[in-house]
């Protein structure tokens, strides 16, 4: 198969993953870095662990009521901390997120993840700016 044909076929298979919106309870969080300490980076994704309470919309096999998920959220944007750094264990939030795997741009961002490694938990990324 010619390379062009091959790649065209591959492109046709690309489908953006559907976001999931769910009500969550914060279980653990990584710290938000100080922008002065991570220069030249100006933004950072911060890993947090949540328990899923209710799925509001969307579908993902790794997101079920009662399951644990990990979310990367923008803790630092344009050199300024967001409200993510103020989150406390037990906080209840409604968030919209997509899987990290395959979202190349987010996989490449500066990530702070001090949570204990757990291969069984799937990572997601909050869609948009933390509200």
């Amino acid at each position: 198969m010619a390379l062009t044909t091959l790649l065209s076929a591959v492109v046709a298979l690309q489908a953006p993953s559907t976001p999931v919106t769910a009500d969550l309870v914060l279980l653990a969080t990584s710290p938000t870095p100080d922008v002065a300490k991570i220069r030249p980076y100006r933004s950072a994704l911060v890993a947090q662990e949540y328990q899923v309470k209710t799925i509001v919309s969307g579908k993902n096999p790794d997101v079920k009521a009662g399951s644990k998920i990990r979310l990367f959220r923008w803790g630092l944007m344009d050199g300024k901390p967001t409200k993510v750094g103020k989150a406390k264990k037990g906080d209840k939030v409604r968030l919209t997120f997509k899987p990290l795997a395959g979202w190349t741009q987010m996989e490449r961002e500066f990530q702070v993840d001090t949570l204990e490694s757990d291969l069984a938990i799937t990572y997601f990324v909050e869609v948009g700016k933390p509200k």
Partner: protein
């Protein structure tokens, strides 16, 4: 732990990283002999893999001494998710450091191509790559962790992700350095993988984005076993023999460059290298790129990204398929993509012409040259112009306008195809007077930004929405400064070359107010970074709409007097800031 994964992969986005090989990877063999969990595994077989360097001393790496340390690999865990296996392995990378690694692959994998994704912190499972029939390898860099129960590397210098500066790792003693430790860990991971039937090292690609790219550049020098190396940005700093870079003190000393600089290692690697790089990158500066390019002795393909740092624009030079045409050519033997040969610059009939040959495997989408005027330096604030590279007989030619014969320039060619892949040739530094050019042959255009062209070449902010309505019938663009994927907080406009604005008095900017509260501010910055750092007074501020006033709805021309701009000859960028980082609608920008 096994989990139900019905239809997991059907719903996931296909990975940009591995899309191109999804069809190219052979079917899995059924007779895998993977070691079992908990087994202590013997060292790699004695048979030397092709391309394995054994006894050389390359820079700070003494390969003989490194390999004298027994790996003592141990599989410490295996997790299954559907038919994907995440296998955790620990091995000794340097004395006192047990490196943690995760292998991700499909059950039954046998001699599959590999992808080493160099991670900045922690090792990560790579489900998407494994789903696409790769064996994905992720090695945890040193973190200073001392708890052997943690799924992390044990030992080595302490690295805190919340206090991670790139400049902190150019240590006098390599054993204190993240760069040394991570590179050796990656090298030893490949040594270990020689013993694993799941992966074919000769079809393995090593990839690093940004900071991890530096480790990829080092590994390229040390190891010719992988098929190719793919680096996004990540070549790091350069320091000349006097410790200078672009007329200023380099961010690292010459000794640090010789120990850790990508250019110092470039000559050693034999396997192909693909580099996609911003021409205004903070870390990978232009002099470093040129040094690496010149020193590489292997096949090399560079993709140039003008005026946008790491941010995305509609040009998408580094988005899918980015490296894959070349990566899959080197890795899988896919057909060789279109390419552009090195260019030459010469005077012909009073014109300065850039000439290059192009091997066209298909019709081209774009062919252009990028030109940046000005002496070496100002690496982060240089403006890159695009001029068309047109077919002229058997070759391609572009005319380079000379606005001032005393001003040198950098130039490189680049082509792209309808499928969206780009490839460039080598950058050159040209002094027109040395070519015999004594006078200008062009006048610098007054219009700096013409929205009717719908080109975001000079817009470092990512998301551009082109609108037909605008002053003078030229249309306009709406820019979003705080898009989370292009997070600058401000809008940056890059076509600022005041050295050519002979007799220029002011800049005119048309903005459309949104009827909401101000302020709206413009900044003209010299020695530019890719953002306005208000702790560094390298800019002149113009309050277009003061605090307390409304950004009146409708179009208005704003004038920035050049007489008030500090260090005008060195100014390289124009920034706009809106209250609350609101979107801004911009019409024509010009100087007069």
């Amino acid at each position: 732990m096994a989990r139900s994964t019905t239809n997991v992969f059907a719903r996931k986005a296909f990975p940009l990283l591995t899309l191109a090989v999804a069809f190219a990877v052979p079917a899995l063999a059924a007779d895998t002999k993977a070691p079992v969990k908990g087994a202590l595994v013997k060292n790699a077989p004695a048979k030397k893999a092709p391309g394995k360097k054994q006894d050389e001393k390359i820079g700070i790496y003494d390969l003989k001494a490194i390999r004298a340390v027994p790996l003592n690999p141990e599989i410490i865990g295996k997790t299954k998710k559907g038919n994907i296996v995440f296998e955790e392995v620990k091995f000794t990378s340097v004395p006192g450091v047990r490196t943690y690694m995760i292998l991700s692959y499909k059950e039954g994998a046998n001699k599959l191509p590999g992808i080493v994704v160099i991670d900045r912190f922690k090792a990560k499972p790579k489900e998407v790559e494994a789903t696409n029939n790769y064996v994905a390898i992720s090695v945890a860099p040193v973190s200073g962790n001392m708890d052997p129960k943690k799924k992390d590397t044990v030992g080595g210098p302490r690295i805190d992700p919340t206090k991670f500066s790139m400049d902190d790792h150019y240590k006098e003693n390599p054993n204190d350095s993240y760069i040394y430790h991570h590179t050796v860990a990656l090298l030893r991971a490949l040594d270990y993988l020689e013993s694993r039937s799941e992966v074919d090292l000769s079809k393995t690609v090593v990839s690093g984005y940004s900071w991890p790219g530096l480790m990829a550049a080092h590994l390229h020098a040390l190891d010719d076993r992988p098929a190719a190396y793919v680096i996004f940005h990540g070549l790091g700093y350069y320091s000349d023999p006097d410790g200078m870079s672009g007329g200023r003190r380099a961010p690292i000393s010459r000794k640090q460059y010789e120990m850790y600089g990508a250019g110092a290692y470039a000559k050693y690697g034999k396997k192909p290298m693909w580099v996609g790089v911003a021409m205004d990158d903070y870390f990978t500066r232009l002099d470093s790129i040129m040094e690496v390019y010149e020193n590489l002795q292997c096949e090399k393909k560079f993709v140039w990204v003008p005026n946008r740092h790491h941010h995305e624009t509609q040009r998408k030079e580094l988005s899918y398929p980015a490296p894959y045409p070349w990566q899959t050519h080197w890795q899988m033997g896919n057909p060789r993509p279109s390419e552009i040969a090195e260019g030459t610059v010469a005077i012909e009939n009073g014109k300065v012409l850039y000439t290059a040959t192009v091997e066209e495997k298909e019709a081209l989408k774009t062919s252009e040259i990028y030109v940046s005027y000005g002496k070496p330096g100002n690496w982060l604030g240089r403006t890159w112009h695009s001029f068309p590279l047109r077919k002229a007989g058997e070759k391609y030619q572009a005319e380079i306008p000379i606005y001032d014969a005393k001003v040198p320039f950098y130039v490189a060619g680049q082509i792209s195809t309808p499928n969206g892949w780009y490839v460039g040739n080598g950058l050159q530094f040209i002094e027109p007077e040395k070519l015999g050019v004594s006078t200008a042959n062009a006048t610098y255009p007054n219009v700096l930004f013409d929205p009717s062209r719908k080109s975001d070449l000079y817009l470092r902010t990512g998301k551009s929405t082109w609108v037909a309505e605008g002053p003078g019938g030229k249309g306009s663009v709406i820019l979003v400064p705080d898009d989370p994927q292009n997070d600058l907080g401000m809008i940056q406009f890059q076509n600022i070359d005041p050295m050519f604005w002979k007799g220029g008095k002011e800049i005119s900017v048309f903005l459309k107010g949104d009827g909401k509260p101000g302020p709206v501010t413009a900044y003209m910055a010299y020695d530019t970074n890719y953002y306005i750092d208000k702790s560094v007074p390298n800019y002149t501020q113009f309050q277009l709409v003061p605090t307390g006033q409304v950004f009146a709805a409708g179009w208005k021309e704003y004038v920035l007097p050049l007489s008030k701009v500090a260090n005008l000859p060195r100014v390289g960028s124009l920034f706009f800031e809106t209250a609350g980082s609101r979107p801004l609608q911009i019409g024509t920008i010009s100087w007069r």
